[in-house]
């Protein structure tokens, strides 16, 4: 019941943002319900403590979408969110991102770290991340992965955090995001142009910038965060959250989530299990993105030979190997989607809906595959379109073979326990992977 109330609250927050703050068209549909993918996946990111990369043209609401969602989900005034944001630019330093020495204490011979608001807040927004030089991108790798920040000999661990990074398309001021950093993002979404009619409304709306501001709370938050600079124990921020939540309830009629409720929602989502079909589909995807019949697995330094038996599968079209973060991202976001839809399980449709967003930034496609996709009619950037095309192809194969795949996985479970059954046979890379796990084929 508590979680049901939370779902209603979160749906109310989504509606509020989409109607009052971030105007855009719905562009994704799941179980008959349409939504804006950027908003929905950003909401999930904030809810589950994920990491989202929001791409798009300048001025199309990449950063503001993240700010609004974080403000409402984490009960933080917009001013506090702003003060914790990190801008990506070539002169950015570890001291500005993570923390700096307390100079007063240092003069007294004592090493005390003053952690940045960015490192302290559970909400982390890196604006224009691809303006960070590649050498400086590695500064934030660990922090983004685990919420673990280190400076001098001291460390800070965020037990609850989410990350949003925004990136413009390539121009003369941008750098390439290194694959290890990209792989740490769970999903990528594009903040699209909302169309002329909605864009016109955005220009006329003046209340958006002030709606989530609350200078009184902002001052109190920043003071509480700064008070720890002097080595004091971090102040209890919960009363400040409650104070802001009360102000928002009075101003907008919104009921915000407490930290305990966020955690309850997270637990509820994590408890959702995958159906066998969804599980099999995910295995098919991973098999196609990691399998190589000749070299054992995909490696970005090794290409596929022409005329390979598996030419029709994604393993031929992709250059790199799927990381172990991919299934985690797909699973967690699919759980969130299933929870959002009120489904008792994560099923094939949830996996199918999330897959393009989790795959787009991770897959390095063959040039020929991208060239074939480049001029197709589409509503998304090429990387998302290519991922969606790939996901649809795997889903098609899954739909055709699902009974055989499920039966083979079931047979494999019993074969591994010594049952006397014929080994699974089939053409898909997953069958090869099964035989490898059964020791019937050399890995």
């Amino acid at each position: 019941m508590v979680v049901q109330n939370c779902r209603d609250k979160i749906r109310d927050l989504y509606t509020f943002i989409s109607e009052q703050l971030y105007f855009n068209r719905p562009d994704v549909s799941v179980q008959g319900e349409s939504a804006n993918a950027t908003l929905l996946l950003s909401l999930f990111t904030a809810l589950i403590g994920g990491k989202a990369l929001i791409i798009g043209e300048p001025g199309l609401g990449k950063t503001t979408a993240a700010e609004y969602i974080c403000s409402l989900l984490y009960c933080l005034p917009l001013g506090v969110i702003w003060s914790g944001e990190v801008s990506g630019h070539p002169e950015q330093t570890e001291e500005k991102i993570v923390g700096r020495p307390n100079l007063g204490k240092l003069n007294q011979g004592e090493e005390v770290v003053v952690w940045s608001t960015f490192a302290r807040l559970p909400v982390k927004i890196v604006d224009e991340i691809n303006r960070l030089p590649e050498t400086k991108q590695s500064l934030i790798l660990d922090g983004l992965e685990r919420g673990k920040w280190e400076y001098l000999n001291q460390g800070l661990i965020n037990d609850e955090f989410c990350l949003f990074a925004t990136a413009n398309y390539q121009d003369q001021g941008t750098n390439t995001l290194v694959p290890p950093l990209l792989d740490r993002f769970d999903v990528v979404v594009e903040s699209k142009h909302p169309g002329a009619n909605i864009a016109c409304l955005i220009g006329q709306s003046t209340a958006r910038d002030t709606l989530l501001r609350h200078p009184e709370s902002e001052g109190a938050f920043l003071e509480a965060l700064q008070s720890t600079r002097n080595g004091q124990k971090i102040a209890d921020l919960e009363p400040l959250h409650q104070s802001f939540a009360k102000a928002m309830r009075e101003r907008c009629g919104l009921v915000m989530l407490s930290r305990a409720e966020r955690q309850a929602v997270r637990q509820e989502m994590a408890a959702l299990t995958m159906t066998l079909e969804a599980n099999a589909l995910l295995r098919m995807v991973l098999a196609e993105l990691s399998f190589c019949c000749k070299y054992g697995q995909k490696r970005s330094s090794e290409g596929c030979d022409e005329g390979c038996h598996y030419t029709g599968y994604l393993c031929y079209e992709v250059r790199n190997c799927a990381s172990n973060r991919l299934p985690g991202s797909v699973y967690r976001y699919a759980q969130a989607l299933a929870w959002w839809c009120g489904s008792p399980h994560v099923d094939v449709e949830h996996i199918r809906a999330i897959l393009p967003y989790a795959l787009a930034h991770r897959a390095q496609w063959r040039e020929s595959y991208l060239l074939a996709r480049e001029h197709e009619r589409r509503q998304e950037p090429l990387l998302l379109h290519a991922a969606r095309h790939a996901a649809a192809a795997v889903f098609q194969r899954f739909y055709e073979q699902r009974h055989d795949i499920l039966a083979s996985l079931s047979a494999a479970a019993r074969l591994l326990d010594g049952a006397d059954l014929p080994p699974p046979q089939g053409d898909h890379p997953l069958y090869s992977e099964i035989r490898r796990d059964l020791g019937l084929e050399q890995a």
Partner: protein, 241 residues
């Protein structure tokens, strides 16, 4: 660690292929149609003779219709039944096999208004195709039809793309019979209404009572020009009654 543990409980349900279901239904319908035909044969074999006599035909047709009662069949089933009768029907009476009349009964009761049969597929030339075809139905016969095509037509449209045998349109009351090429003797015999169009030659007209008959573009009954028609009725057709 068993990475397949989650799938241990999966039991492959008996998978039913749509094709299996379709074939099973088709077989069941075909069996029922064959039983109905067998009932017609048994009934008619009691009569010992099977001649073109109004009472005998009408009785056989009624038996066929009764035998088809309660059989839910489609045009596709009708085609299958034709193939079956073409391959296996050994019963032949003096007027040819009653299977033609049975097919006509099926054409008149199948829940479709447009019925098409590819006669090129069959070795037999069944008589009585289009027998009593009611108004609103169209029977398209691709190939050569046997004798008595469109007999006692009751308002339907029969189209034969090839030739027709003797007695085409015999006793037809209303409707249209269209023959692509030629017809045999006694064409339009006893015809009381409707239109019979023959694209090619009419070997000989029967004793036509009413209706219109065309040979090519030329109306041969009732003759429009004062000159006698090139196709003359055969004398002594009464012996065929």
């Amino acid at each position: 660690m068993n990475p397949f543990e989650a799938f241990r409980s999966y039991s492959a349900a008996q998978r039913e292929l749509p094709l299996d279901r379709i074939l099973a239904r088709r077989d069941a319908v075909l069996q029922r149609l064959l039983q109905s035909y067998q009932a017609l044969i048994e009934e008619e074999s009691k009569q010992l003779i099977w001649v073109v006599e109004q009472g005998a035909l009408s009785r056989a047709y009624t038996t066929a219709v009764e035998a088809l009662q309660g059989v839910d069949f489609t045009v596709e089933d009708l085609e299958d039944m034709c193939l079956e009768l073409d391959a296996n029907d050994g019963f032949t009476a003096s007027m040819g096999p009653p299977s033609g009349l049975f097919i006509a009964a099926m054409c008149n009761h199948v829940p479709a208004n447009d019925i098409s049969l590819n006669l090129h597929l069959f070795r037999r030339r069944w008589p009585f195709l289009g027998y009593r075809l009611p108004r609103g139905r169209r029977l398209y016969l691709d190939g050569d039809a046997g004798d008595f095509v469109g007999a006692l037509l009751e308002g339907g449209d029969v189209e034969v793309t090839g030739n027709a045998g003797n007695y085409a349109g015999i006793g037809m009351k209303t409707g249209t019979v269209q023959i692509g090429y030629s017809t045999g003797k006694y064409t339009g015999e006893g015809m009381r209404g409707g239109t019979l169009r023959v694209g090619g030659r009419i070997a000989a007209l029967g004793r036509v009572k009413q209706g219109d008959i065309y040979e090519g573009n030329l109306q041969v009954f009732p003759a429009k020009n004062p000159e006698p028609p090139t196709v003359k009725p055969l004398a002594g057709t009464a012996r065929h009654k």
